[in-house]
Symmetry: C2
Subunit: 402 residues, 2 copies
């Protein structure tokens, strides 16, 4: 008998038929004698519909506290319907809102962090043999106000419960059946992994693989919660995410593509000390997340700096730099928003120096030009033109894993 936490996303409970599907999956494991806690997101497009309602009232700047109050109603609907469905199928269930389930958060409305999960109520309901259905994404701050964790927060809710209750397994149900070595819709011979380490998963998630929310993987790593990513539609094993993973013959875990990238080039900067500091300090003030930075020596005692930022922060970054014209002497600034980042990830990479060369060879063979390169212990990323990104992913994937 195990304690299993299961998380289902909004599309898994989008209508009555899917709610019953999810209910049956839950009941299968319950009837095997397991204790079950389920975390659910809001149904289908509910959150988007609620945001649209708020925009009708205030398109630009609705109160963050009231947004949380509004959005938290979405999970309230899905948890009650799922509990009803389970009861209709003959098993005992009880739904709990974030605050009832003991989610204590800080007060950063819209992007709250979980401080603690006081799981007493959940434990009481488990002891009564109830299947416990918890609203993901939401909690309560110290003023007794409703907070939300931000998009993707339900994954984090599930891991937080699993950590707090020392669950045996935390299953994240998605519309794919596991973690693949590349996007299986784009790369036909992508390989499903049986296991992957937290660190590898973190790199893949942040690189746009979009299987698991990054905060949830960080939390799972911190509290050593074993995760399983699996299909909400088919009954078959998924991919286990845990601390150490058995070595396989491939050194590369996966290839990921991220289109949410823009690059900014500042050309003809005076080559004097402090220029880079001034630029990136200003960008930090504007809360721009800079990823890869490249500095090159230009002509006539000038230099050029190119850096990448998330796509939606590109314009802000350009405006921030242009506003420094008086203190920063440069010739021109340009924004390129047709950029993709393609990355390979693998924990074995560090001890094998030939990996980067092999990746560049694959891109060269495919005729793809590399704009920028970045490496860490377990990944190598290149920035390339967005229009050849899918081709690049296939070429790199086939080179290592084909």
């Amino acid at each position: 008998m195990s304690l299993i936490v299961k998380k289902f996303g909004g599309s898994s409970v989008a209508n009555a038929e899917r709610v019953f599907n999810v209910a049956r999956r839950i009941i299968d494991d319950y009837k095997k004698g397991n204790d079950i806690v389920v975390v659910v997101s809001a149904q289908g497009d509910t959150t988007d519909d609620l945001i649209a309602k708020a925009k009708e009232i205030n398109p630009k700047n609705p109160s963050k506290r009231e947004m949380d109050m509004l959005l938290a109603s979405g999970e309230q609907i899905s948890i009650s319907l799922l509990a009803m469905a389970i009861e209709t199928l003959g098993c005992p269930a009880v739904s709990l809102l974030g605050w009832q389930a003991g989610f204590e958060t800080d007060s950063h409305h819209g992007i709250s962090r979980i401080k603690r999960v006081n799981a007493e109520r959940i434990k009481t309901e488990i002891a009564k043999k109830n299947i416990v259905i918890v609203a993901g994404f939401q909690g309560l701050n110290k003023y007794d106000d409703i907070t939300t964790l931000g998009r993707g927060g339900s994954d984090t809710s599930a891991v937080a419960i699993a950590a707090s209750m020392k669950a045996d397994l935390c299953q994240i149900y998605t519309d794919v059946d596991g973690v693949y070595s590349a996007d299986p819709r784009k790369v036909p011979n992508a390989i499903k992994m049986d296991e992957i380490s937290y660190d590898e998963m973190l790199e893949l998630a942040s690189l746009g693989a979009q299987v698991l929310n990054n905060r949830s993987v960080e939390m799972a790593k911190k509290y050593n919660v074993e995760l399983e990513v699996l299909s909400s539609l088919e009954v078959k094993p998924g991919t286990i995410v845990k601390e150490t993973v058995k070595m396989e013959k491939t050194l590369i875990r996966g290839v990921a593509k991220d289109n949410n990238v823009a690059t900014i080039s500042i050309v003809g900067l005076q080559d004097t000390p402090g220029v880079a500091f001034k630029i990136f300090n200003k960008l930090a003030q504007y809360k721009v997340n800079v990823d890869i930075i490249l500095q090159s020596v230009g002509r006539d005692g000038t230099k050029d700096i190119t850096f990448s930022v998330p796509l939606d922060q590109g314009q802000i970054a350009v405006e921030a730099i242009e506003g420094m014209k008086e203190v920063l002497d440069f010739k021109s600034i340009s924004l390129n928003d047709s950029i993709s980042k393609v990355s390979i990830v693998g924990a074995g990479m560090e001890s094998h120096p030939g990996i980067a060369a092999k990746m560049f060879e694959a891109l060269y063979d495919a005729g793809i030009n590399i704009h920028m390169i970045s490496t860490s212990e377990i990944k190598i990323s290149v920035l390339i033109d967005a229009k050849v990104a899918d081709k690049a992913v296939s070429a790199v994937h086939d080179k290592f894993l084909g």
Copy 2:
């Protein structure tokens, strides 16, 4: 400076435009220096939409606890949108769910009674000069589970806050601009009343006038909360409901019609003791609400009993009686579901014995046949054919108030 509780129904906040209308009404009174607590129902058809969702899961018997969890999300949406709108218009506002506002109820899910309103949080927000927006219809039981008060419960929520905080006035905004001597859509010369007593309002509400929820009037009477029924669309005084009302020249307050009536006639009962007891005891077991009872002596040592019940309980009542054939000897039973109850209400009636005769005269002049009659200290009701009910209301209204 006064403390005013205001209640707005679902149609008053059905869309963004109406939410802003309500926000402006509230702000007008706030800017006069009043402390304002607002109780809101769920938007427009939200509650019906949520019920439809539950019926997709379980058409017959969804869990009552989970229904309350589900339905309570409706007000969560409307309170947050209204608070956003008030803030957008430049005034401070904060929304509170039933449990945050201190509504403690019993555990009868779907029809909970308010045990106590612990208004500490509301007082704290008022002290911060916030306009407080409270979710009507909902509370929390001693197990920390969400409960609802049943349809029309938001009126009761508003009165409960007014009672708990000793508010100066509790304003109930509706789609009519006050309480009329008859339905103004049917009776053109119906008179709007400036004032009406709690008892008169109770009789009118229970007789189908449908302006105020009965439980709210009972609670207002118990705690002596002054109510005002007024228009959510036009800015003008409504009708005040309070304990004692100045005598006016008219003895009759109003004429009400109730179509939710059926009559059942049991013909040819043995004229032996205990027959009535057996019948009405059985109906009580089936939770049928019997209103008017008429017993007449029949022929050959038999008697007939006719009684009225709510329309939707007619069939249940007939089946209950037919199931007694073995212990109850009667010739036939019939159901008449084309019946209306027309009533006149007025506190001055008791001391004026001619009132009933005047009502019957009006009906006689209009050629309307009376099936049954019932009287109390402040009302006289007759049951007549449904198809002549509007004609009867006009005739009686014009006789007394025309």
